[in-house]
């Protein structure tokens, strides 16, 4: 662990410039544990329906800089819809999204990365035809300014960009301990490793906000703890704010700073793990209900 922290320190100093001034300034205000005055993400009154079926109703959510924020709820509670609204896959019918000082009616999927948002998917969304490091390098896309001619001939801006994307990818690989598989085709990796590659790909662009959609679904208990540790490492070393959607209450309780609970598209509770554990509404709506442990296969719509 210590070894990595020192590694991360060196990344930080070398990449402040590449990360861009906005990100740097956002990071400066970071102080783990203490909520800052200005939330990094502020959803207010988000409603979403699909052809009459309501997915979200008037959901508010404040996410402070640097915290690990979990959103939990039973199947069909609207968790994935929420993450898809934040990452611009869905446009909400009502409500606003405040992010990094701006207010939006809807995020646009092709712009979120440029705003400093990154995400993973409940059902892996890796690029099967690429190797581990290439997958991770793809996450560098929003920083790319060079054109294909420069890239093909490795001239001009492309030269520096390729070097820094390579470096950033190597850093992420080191951080998440993927060195042994860095050149393997990603499709040949075990499920848990693929999850970690996806996390690395999301981290490589140094996102301000990282959205994790059920990162531990379908994993054995041991791997869950392992991945939780990687998530914490990422937050601690890169200062990334994390929103985490998860089924497994146990992991969430240990990992997150604050938890929001959704049920039938409504937010029914919000607070620290201890508060949530004590919340009767949550216990009624969620904890008391048995649910299938693994829903990784019958996934929610990704497209």
């Amino acid at each position: 662990m210590t070894r990595h922290l020192t590694d991360v320190g060196s990344i930080d100093s070398s990449s402040t410039q590449a990360a861009g001034p906005d990100v740097a300034s956002l990071l400066q205000g970071y102080d783990p544990g203490k909520p800052a005055t200005e939330p990094i993400l502020h959803l207010s009154g988000i409603s979403l329906a699909f052809g009459g079926v309501t997915a979200l109703t008037g959901v508010d959510l404040r996410v402070e800089k640097g915290e690990i924020r979990a959103v939990i709820g039973p199947n069909g509670a609207g968790k994935s819809s929420l993450i898809n609204v934040i990452s611009g896959v869905y446009s909400p019918d009502k409500g606003t999204i405040g992010f990094a000082g701006q207010t939006y009616a809807a995020m646009r999927a092709n712009r979120v990365a440029h705003l400093g948002l990154a995400r993973t998917y409940q059902n892996l969304a890796l690029f099967k035809g690429l190797s581990v490091i290439e997958n991770i390098q793809t996450g560098f896309a929003p920083r790319v300014r060079s054109n294909f001619v420069e890239q093909t001939f490795a001239i001009g801006r492309a030269r520096a960009e390729e070097r820094s994307s390579r470096q950033a990818a190597e850093d992420a690989i080191a951080l998440l301990e993927l060195t042994a598989v860095r050149d393997r085709p990603v499709s040949t990796l075990a499920y848990g490793l693929q999850k970690r590659v996806e996390l690395a790909r999301a981290l490589v662009s140094r996102p301000v906000l990282l959205l994790l959609d059920e990162p531990m679904a379908g994993m054995p208990a041991g791997e869950k703890q392992e991945l939780a540790a990687y998530i914490r490492t990422a937050r601690d070393s890169l200062g990334t704010t994390v929103i985490l959607i998860e089924h497994d209450i146990g992991v969430v309780m240990g990992l997150s700073d604050r938890i929001a609970v959704l049920d039938y598209g409504h937010k029914i509770a919000d607070g620290t793990p201890q508060e949530i554990q004590a919340n009767q509404a949550v216990i009624d709506a969620y904890l008391g209900i048995a649910h299938p442990e693994d829903d990784a296969v019958a996934g929610e719509a990704r497209a």
Binding site: M1, S87, G88, V89, A109, N110, V112, A113, H114, A118, R119, Y121, A125, L126, F127, K128, G129, L130, E134, Q137, T138, G139, F140, A141, P142, V144, S146, F148, Q151, T152, F153, A154, A158, E161, E162, S165, E177, L178, T179, A180, V181, R184, L193, R201, S205, E226, A229, R302, A303
Partner: protein
């Protein structure tokens, strides 16, 4: 924190041949040996069509193999390239051949972008069918407007002589060397491209468009870029087909069957491999010749050429299905396996 166990990769033990050595050897042989040993028949009837079709397949592979956009209109872009080159050569006095070729490719790229626009809204089969529009529209326009063929009464035009800086590439060997040079340069370009950020973007868009978009890959621009580069290369393949191989240009030669032929090449050769285009083209060009020669050698005059050709059509269709079932990664993957196996045997 658990570390990932280092997987034992087989090639970490075996001695490594530099990856560039094999292609380099092929190129050296193609330039240095083939012209001296190949008969005019082999050059005119096998190598020239092989080179032109390989290049077209490299182009289509960028679009379909790498960027995942299925196109059924490749022949149209070959036609655009061929006719553009003819007209640039005809209408601009003293334009060097190299410039003519680049302009022809650029014209094909421009048309490619126009017909790639539906890809911004359509996917899969809807897009594939919409690329047929390119196929029919281009063929219609080229026959409709006599200007494209310099008002030649028959619509068939003769290719100009090939000359670069005073050196004329006349005769079979000359045209072979010319075509080979063009193919080498563009293949090297394609090889570099697909390994760059742009190439990674192609694959990202192909494998998971939504994830690519959320990651910040400029999906629309990437798709149009794939259409442009692919059409550029296919357009130049059209120039080779018309100028170096057939020496005539006529719209009919760039029909739907040709588009399918190029698609077959990349399926059989291997999608998303540059090598595959060459393997596939070799098979598609050479295989029918061998089959018909074998057929007439074995059966003599028992069957007429029609029966043989019909059987050949069946065999090619069957080959495609067999490859899709048994070897979806094509000849390129088959080749790798063979090499690996041979490797395994030589080592104790």
């Amino acid at each position: 924190m658990a570390n990932v166990a280092a997987p034992s990769t087989s090639n970490s033990f075996s001695w490594q041949v530099p990856a560039w050595l094999a292609p380099l050897a092929v190129v050296v042989a193609a330039f240095g040996v083939v012209p001296f040993v190949a008969s005019p028949y082999v050059i005119e009837a096998i190598l020239l069509p092989f080179l032109a079709l390989s290049l077209a397949a490299v182009g289509l592979n960028i679009l379909t193999g790498y960027a995942g956009q299925l196109s059924l209109g490749s022949a149209a872009f070959m036609a655009v390239g061929a006719f553009a080159a003819y007209n640039f050569n005809l209408r601009v006095d003293g334009l060097p051949l190299i410039v003519t070729i680049i302009l022809a490719g650029a014209t094909a790229a421009a048309i490619g972008i126009v017909f790639g626009l539906p890809s911004l809204r359509l996917k899969g089969f809807y897009l594939a069918v919409s690329t047929l529009a390119a196929q029919f529209f281009v063929q219609w326009a080229l026959t409709k407007f006599g200007w494209f063929s310099n008002n030649s009464p028959s619509g068939v035009i003769d290719a100009p002589p090939l000359a670069i800086a005073g050196v004329t590439f006349d005769g079979a060997v000359g045209r072979y060397l010319f075509a080979l040079s063009v193919v080498t340069v563009l293949t090297a370009f394609a090889y570099r491209l697909v390994r760059s950020q742009a190439g990674r973007n192609f694959i990202a868009v192909r494998d998971n468009e939504l994830a690519a978009r959320v990651l910040g890959v400029p999906v629309l621009r990437t798709k149009l870029l794939a259409f442009a580069i692919s059409s550029f290369i296919i357009g130049i393949a059209g120039v080779l087909w018309a100028f170096a191989y057939l020496r005539t240009v006529e719209p009919h030669g760039f029909n739907l069957d040709r588009s399918f032929q190029i698609l077959f090449i990349i399926i059989i050769g291997g999608l998303a491999t540059i090598r595959g285009a060459f393997f596939g083209a070799a098979l598609i060009v050479v295989f029918p010749l061998i089959l018909s020669r074998l057929g007439s050698a074995v059966f003599g005059t028992v069957f007429d050429s029609g029966v043989l050709d019909m059987s050949q059509r069946i065999v090619i269709g069957a080959l495609i299905i067999i490859f899709l079932i048994a070897e979806p990664d094509g000849l390129a993957a088959l080749w790798d396996r063979l090499i690996k196996r041979a490797h395994g045997r030589t080592e104790p």
